[in-house]
């Protein structure tokens, strides 16, 4: 698989899971700058081998329910073959998920309507 293909896979997964968590809204890709070098030796040098993408969605007119959001996200990710774990600390509700070298984090908070989905491709190249 090429890095371009991996980027597309990640983007599709993030959008699909975000849409499953909040079906009535259209998720927005807020960060998808393209391939970067995560720092093979030091910062910034060497070939670009991973892509990072962020997607946001939420229900702005409803009271935030971060517990329900991460539960729904974990279920949607598991349905799509991801290994997930859910954690909550001091208002930070979080899902960590991995599959075939991809990694996703879902963040939800009681103080914000936004549910954030950040993901990295595996290193390719």
């Amino acid at each position: 698989m090429t890095l371009t293909e991996a980027r597309e896979v990640l983007r599709t997964e993030l959008l699909a899971v975000a849409a499953a968590v909040v079906p009535g809204q259209t998720p927005v890709v807020t960060h998808d700058p393209g391939p970067v070098n995560p720092g093979a030796l030091f910062d910034g040098r060497g070939p670009a081998t991973i892509c990072s993408i962020t997607v946001e969605t939420g229900e702005p007119t409803a009271q935030p329910d971060p517990d329900a959001a991460v539960s729904a996200a974990a279920a949607a990710l598991a349905d799509r073959g991801w290994t997930t774990s859910v954690a909550t600390e001091d208002g930070h509700h979080r899902v960590s998920a991995s599959r075939d070298g991809y990694a996703i984090a879902v963040h939800a908070w009681p103080t914000d309507w936004r549910i954030t989905f950040t993901g990295d491709t595996p290193a390719i190249g």
Binding site: T26, P33, G44, D112
Partner: protein, 415 residues
């Protein structure tokens, strides 16, 4: 107005950073909104990097500077390879970024906005200071200082890190990527502290400007990675004051800094991460490893699920290293996880045999050789902070007393 502005720009160059930023902000506050906007439009080179000027005006000024730099390059005729690359970079920096906002009917919609630069140098190696989030409304502000090998062309990867920190820290967080120094472009340059020492006063001026922009109740965290941790250290020695400091993969601050309170005055706390196998931290190339400071909080980088090794995985998705940085930035200090593993133990974990101490010894020899070369070829200047400006090391000083030979110590001493 133009003459007044010119006088202001000249005068504040001679003032202490905090006074200068206050004067600049007072000047802009005294202007009618239309006049202030006109300055950004007509004097973008000055307004764009003027610490203390309102962020919105600096964003606009730097956007204009980017457009100008891109247009000049486009019109320059046949371009060399590095110029073509720079043109691509400028086009990318001028591409609007998407935000998730709410329309009148309560639907989430995509809104495109220009990127927010508080400083910009589109020529040469290139520099930039970019803001992610809303600086004037943020309750938490993280300022990320990257390390060596960075330029305008590597900004994308650093913005990725800033974006991850912002989401990990949560709502109401603004992340600032501060690449407003000449990041060393090779090991030979990185062996010298020159770039960090020159960056210290620049970081102080920037942070003074930030003080005029942020909410009074906002907490500010400085995050330095690798050589950037040295820049953060030099900034703190130059008088930068923040709520919290995080250093990841640090090669050390300087020979005489061997505890947090040497450069991070209380009540500010120092939080340090050193991952297993981080050869840069083990080398102690610029000074004692901050992970060994007795008064620093040594944060865990690993958990059972995501491994963080070597020098460049601190910002890995879902890692304990990144989660701890998020906790520090949002002030959730009770949930920080810590470690006390030793260099020997970590390097054994990384490769099966302990190699960190031999590396540290080799780095000490190389450091001495470098010092010798520097002292033969350069004059030794000492800055106000007592740090040599040419990359050579002064006599180590502990609590104000010169202690010959005390700069380098083996891990664990004095803890």
């Amino acid at each position: 107005m133009a003459d007044e502005f010119e006088l202001l720009v000249r005068r504040v160059q001679e003032l202490p950073a905090e006074v200068a930023a206050y004067e600049v902000r007072s000047y802009f506050d005294s202007l009618a909104p239309g006049d202030a906007s006109r300055l950004a439009e007509t004097r973008p080179d000055e307004v764009g990097s003027l610490d203390g000027a309102p962020a919105a005006l600096r964003y606009r000024a730097n956007h204009l500077r980017l457009v100008d730099a891109r247009d000049r390059l486009r019109d320059a005729g046949p371009l060399a390879e590095h110029e073509r690359k720079r043109l691509e970079t400028l086009d990318e920096l001028l591409t609007p970024v998407a935000h998730a906002e709410v329309d009148a009917s309560g639907k989430v919609v995509e809104v495109l906005r220009d990127r927010q630069f508080l400083s910009l140098q589109p020529e040469g190696q290139g520099r930039a200071v970019e803001v992610l989030g809303e600086l004037d409304r943020a309750r938490n502000v993280a300022v990320l200082v990257p390390g060596m090998g960075n330029s305008l062309e590597t900004l994308r990867g650093q913005v990725d890190r800033a974006d991850l920190i912002r989401h990990e820290a949560g709502p109401g967080t603004a992340a600032v990527l501060w690449l407003d120094y000449d990041s060393p472009q090779g090991l030979r340059e990185a062996a010298s502290k020159r770039a960090a020492i020159q960056a210290g006063p620049a970081l102080r001026r920037f942070m003074a400007g930030l003080e005029t922009e942020r909410l009074p109740e906002a907490s500010v965290t400085l995050v330095g990675h690798s050589y950037g941790s040295d820049v953060v250290g030099q900034g703190m020695l130059q008088g930068v004051r923040v709520d919290r400091v995080v250093l990841t993969g640090s090669p050390g601050i300087t020979k005489f800094v061997n505890q947090a309170s040497d450069f991070v005055p209380p009540p500010t706390r120092l939080y340090v991460e050193r991952a297993p196998g981080d050869y840069v931290s083990y080398s102690e190339w610029h000074g004692p490893d901050p992970a060994t400071f007795p008064d620093a909080i040594r944060m865990a980088t690993n958990d059972e699920t995501v491994s963080v090794h070597w020098h460049n995985e601190y910002y890995r998705q879902n890692s304990e290293a990144l989660r701890n940085i998020g906790r520090v930035v949002r002030g959730d200090l009770a949930h920080i996880t810590t470690t006390d593993t030793t260099r020997a133990h970590e390097s054994k974990l990384a490769l099966g045999i302990s190699w960190a101490d031999p590396l540290n010894n080799a780095a000490a020899v190389a450091s001495k050789v470098y010092d010798g070369v520097v002292s033969l070829t350069k004059r030794n200047h000492t800055s106000a902070a007592g740090v040599a400006t040419d990359g050579s090391r002064p006599s180590p000083v502990v609590r104000g007393t010169a202690v010959p030979g005390a700069g380098r110590r083996s891990e664990g001493q004095g803890r």
